[in-house]
C-alpha cells in the first residue's frame, strides 16, 4: 500500500512538471487540464494515506467509486450544457481516476 501511495505521489509530481512545461510553451489551457489530472493523484494519495492511518484501507475502494459517480455525473452535465472546458476537465479527472483504480486493484486492498 505504501508503494501504491508513493506511486501516486510520483505521478502527481511528474504531471505538475509537465504542466509547468506546458505553461512555458504558452499552452495555458492544456497546463490547466494537466494540473487537474495531477490533483486527482494527489487527492487519491491523501485519501489512501488517511484510511491507512485510521486502519480502514478497505473503505478506499468505496471512496473511489463515489468519485467515479460524482465526476461521471459532472461530465454528463457538462455535455448537456455543451461546456467544452468542463468536458475536458471532467474527462481528465475520470481518466486519472481509472488509472488510480487499476493500480489500486493490484494492491489487493480493495477486497
Amino acid at each position: 500500500m505504501e508503494e501504491f501511495i508513493e506511486a501516486l505521489k510520483a505521478e502527481n509530481a511528474a504531471l505538475n512538471l509537465r504542466a509547468a512545461e506546458l505553461r512555458d510553451q504558452n499552452k495555458a489551457d492544456e497546463a490547466v487540464f494537466t494540473t487537474v489530472r495531477a490533483n486527482v493523484y494527489d487527492i487519491c494519495a491523501t485519501v489512501c494515506r488517511a484510511h491507512l492511518k485510521n486502519g480502514t484501507p478497505s473503505a478506499i475502494g468505496g471512496i473511489f467509486a463515489r468519485f467515479q459517480d460524482e465526476w461521471s455525473a459532472a461530465l454528463e452535465s457538462a455535455k448537456t450544457r455543451d461546456n467544452a472546458r468542463k468536458i475536458c476537465i471532467e474527462e481528465e479527472k475520470l481518466e486519472a481516476l481509472a488509472d488510480v483504480r487499476a493500480r489500486f486493484a493490484l494492491t489487493g486492498c480493495g477486497k
Binding site: 504558452n26 499552452k27 489551457d29 492544456e30 467544452a84 472546458r85 468536458i87 475536458c88 474527462e91
Partner: protein, 185 residues
C-alpha cells in the same frame, strides 16, 4: 470588427496549440480526429480548442456523417491588425456602454435587497461593482478613522472587515496610519 470580437481573436491566438491547429489547417480542411492525431492532442482537448477558434470566427466546421470537418476562415485571417485595433465607432462605444450599464444594474439587483448587501460576490468583476456602490457612501478626500469607515460599510453588510480589505486591494480606499481615504471616486 468590434472591440469584443478583436479581443476574442487575440485571446484565442495567444495559445501555442491553437496556433498549431491554424497552421495545420493552412494545408486545407481537415477532420477533427486527424488533427488531434497529427498534433498529439486528445479528442476532447482538440474539441475544446476548436470551439474557441470557432467562437473567435477563425475556423468554421461542418458535420460529415460521424466526423466534423474544420476549415480556416481565410477572410478573417487576412484582416490586418491595424483594422482590428481601430477605435470603435461612436455607435459601437454607446452600445458597449449600454451593455456595461445593464450588467451593472443586473448585478446590483441580484446582490442588494434595498440598501442591504445579501452576500459578497465571489467573482471579481461583480465584487468590484458592489464595492463601487458601497463607495458611493464614502466622501472622496475625507479622512475617516477605522470605526467610522467600518460603520459606513457595516450599514451594507456585517462582514465589513472583508469589504474594507477588498476596497483597499481594489484601490478604492487608501489606508495610512490607521486612517482611511477614498482615493478612487
Amino acid at each position: 470588427m468590434n472591440r469584443e470580437s478583436a479581443i476574442r481573436v487575440f485571446k484565442c491566438l495567444s495559445d501555442a496549440s491553437r496556433l498549431n491547429i491554424l497552421r495545420a489547417l493552412r494545408g486545407g480542411e481537415a477532420y477533427g480526429e486527424l488533427l488531434a492525431e497529427r498534433l498529439g492532442l486528445s479528442a476532447s482537448t482538440l474539441s475544446f480548442h476548436m470551439k474557441k477558434l470557432e467562437e473567435a470566427g477563425l475556423v468554421t466546421s461542418c458535420k460529415e456523417q460521424y466526423y466534423t470537418v474544420y476549415t480556416l476562415n481565410e477572410s478573417l485571417l487576412r484582416t490586418q491588425i491595424s483594422e482590428m485595433i481601430r477605435e470603435d465607432s461612436p455607435a459601437e462605444e454607446d452600445a458597449a456602454r449600454e451593455r456595461e450599464d445593464a450588467y451593472r444594474r443586473k448585478v446590483l439587483e441580484a446582490f442588494f435587497d434595498g440598501e442591504r448587501l445579501k452576500s459578497i460576490p465571489v467573482q471579481r468583476k461583480k465584487k468590484l461593482i458592489i464595492l463601487q456602490k458601497i463607495a458611493e457612501s464614502i466622501e472622496p478626500g475625507k479622512v475617516y478613522d477605522e470605526k467610522e469607515i467600518s460603520g459606513i460599510i457595516e450599514r451594507f453588510h456585517p462582514d465589513y472587515c472583508t469589504l474594507r480589505r477588498d476596497m483597499i486591494s481594489e484601490g478604492i480606499l487608501k489606508r495610512e496610519k490607521g486612517k482611511y481615504v477614498k482615493v478612487n471616486p
